[in-house]
Symmetry: C2
Subunit: 316 residues, 2 copies
Amino acid sequence: MANRIIEKSENILVASHLHPDGDALGSTIAIGKGLEKKGKNVFLYNESLIPDMFSFLPGIKKIKNKIPDSAFFDSAIILDCSGLNRTGKSRKIIENIPKIINIDHHFTNTKFGTEKIIEPNACATAEIVYRLLKEWNITFCKEIAYSIYTGIFTDTGSFRFPNTNKKAFSICMEMLDYGVSPNIVASNIYGSYSVGKIKLVSKLLDSIEFSRNGKISMMVLKQEMLKYANVMDEDISEFINYAENINDVKLAVFIKEDKRGETPYYYVSLRSDGSVNTASIAASYGGGGHEYAAGFSSRLSFTQLRQELMSLADTI
Amino acid sequence: MANRIIEKSENILVASHLHPDGDALGSTIAIGKGLEKKGKNVFLYNESLIPDMFSFLPGIKKIKNKIPDSAFFDSAIILDCSGLNRTGKSRKIIENIPKIINIDHHFTNTKFGTEKIIEPNACATAEIVYRLLKEWNITFCKEIAYSIYTGIFTDTGSFRFPNTNKKAFSICMEMLDYGVSPNIVASNIYGSYSVGKIKLVSKLLDSIEFSRNGKISMMVLKQEMLKYANVMDEDISEFINYAENINDVKLAVFIKEDKRGETPYYYVSLRSDGSVNTASIAASYGGGGHEYAAGFSSRLSFTQLRQELMSLADTI
């Protein structure tokens, strides 16, 4: 059914979610290249700016972050989005496209769109895209191979997460035949820290404190630490992993001070080992998320916020 | 030839290198189990204590750290050792065993032993062991599968290092059929830090300094840092990755002070981005390793060692 829509379409928009990761971008480039090889006019789109770490991907520059007012599309392919709102403000434009094909592997997918290819057992949306391209008899090339490999590599956390399945290995192995160097992907994705980021991590690790029973770890990022390390907009969200992966810790809390608004406020990330429901804690502060990973914003004072969160230790 | 020695042997010692990593231990357990299945009496040996992170490996408890005085062996299989001295003080015992089979993937292997199976293109010694077990028609089981998987997983740095080849993917994928959970391996290997280890990492990151041209990064572990963090024998070798993965760094140096001997000495790990041959630097200090990862011990003073290594920056 999705294939019939694509066959009948001349102009196709391909889009993914805000703040794109390797799977969002890899899936976009790979299916875009496949459609090109089928003779379609494609427009690859992402509302956010593309992080530098993905600039090694062949074809990355084809992804634009503005849809021209004059553009007309017969159909849209939306990748790796659990809901259409994940595409950002462009949702309003996309909703007016006659046919929408929703391709995703999130269990929580809202099943939007005209046609849906939703496979929660796929390790990445790139795994689904791989199968589609095979179905279409597309000849694979370096551009497709790097995109598919990167999608699977990043969404499985370098073959470490529970979604690492046999397909992850077999597809990635096959992509090596088309010229993918695993080390080039890895060194671009995980490879490179600035000296400032190293300094910042050192400070962050130093900031970790624990509840008395050791079940909660708390890591704090203050604006002065960013100044000290001379770091502006580096992505430091991954570093909550340090606070989470400490022996006996059930709940990791990462408090980030944010001063971009008029008054200072805090953004709190929560991660649990599975025994604490982070979504319900976040919800009680007006935030949201998943059972194992959630977040919220707060205008409480740091002292009060810290105390309230630490006091959760008695209940877990 | 190696096979003939094994066929004729009744009692076989299997040993690997000091401070064992996942490949040393995985290869030891896997070939040990294979030999058992061939009806041999095996004694699995490692001179160092086994790091806790490997306690999830089925069969890990079979590895003993003392060879009984009364033991007699027809042959010894030495795994993942570039030289026989890498086995430690037990070298003296091993040298008296009638036949020694040297199985390794280090480019710098000294070719010791009666028979050698040295394959520098293998991603891990576990890859060579896998092929041997197949040649022997051994029925694979969970114990062998976890050992082979862990050997390849750790030696390729979770499929990130330049030695990540197609065999790494195909063998690991096959091991899933025998019950390996990639997430269980990953969460044991990379999963859990003690509070002390977190403190130590913070200090290590703080210690990083650079050559003037930024091409060399140097990280130093002093005994006093271990005391401060109250860490004894944690495996901290992985943290050289921080020093290596800094923008523009060609060569990362990790100097570890060791005071267990009579006089203090230093163990130096080297990692390169591929543009500097670490094996030849290590060899000039009497050490060995791979092109992009090598190491050596030194009794030079810290000041001299630091100066000599930093001066390499002018040549790279």
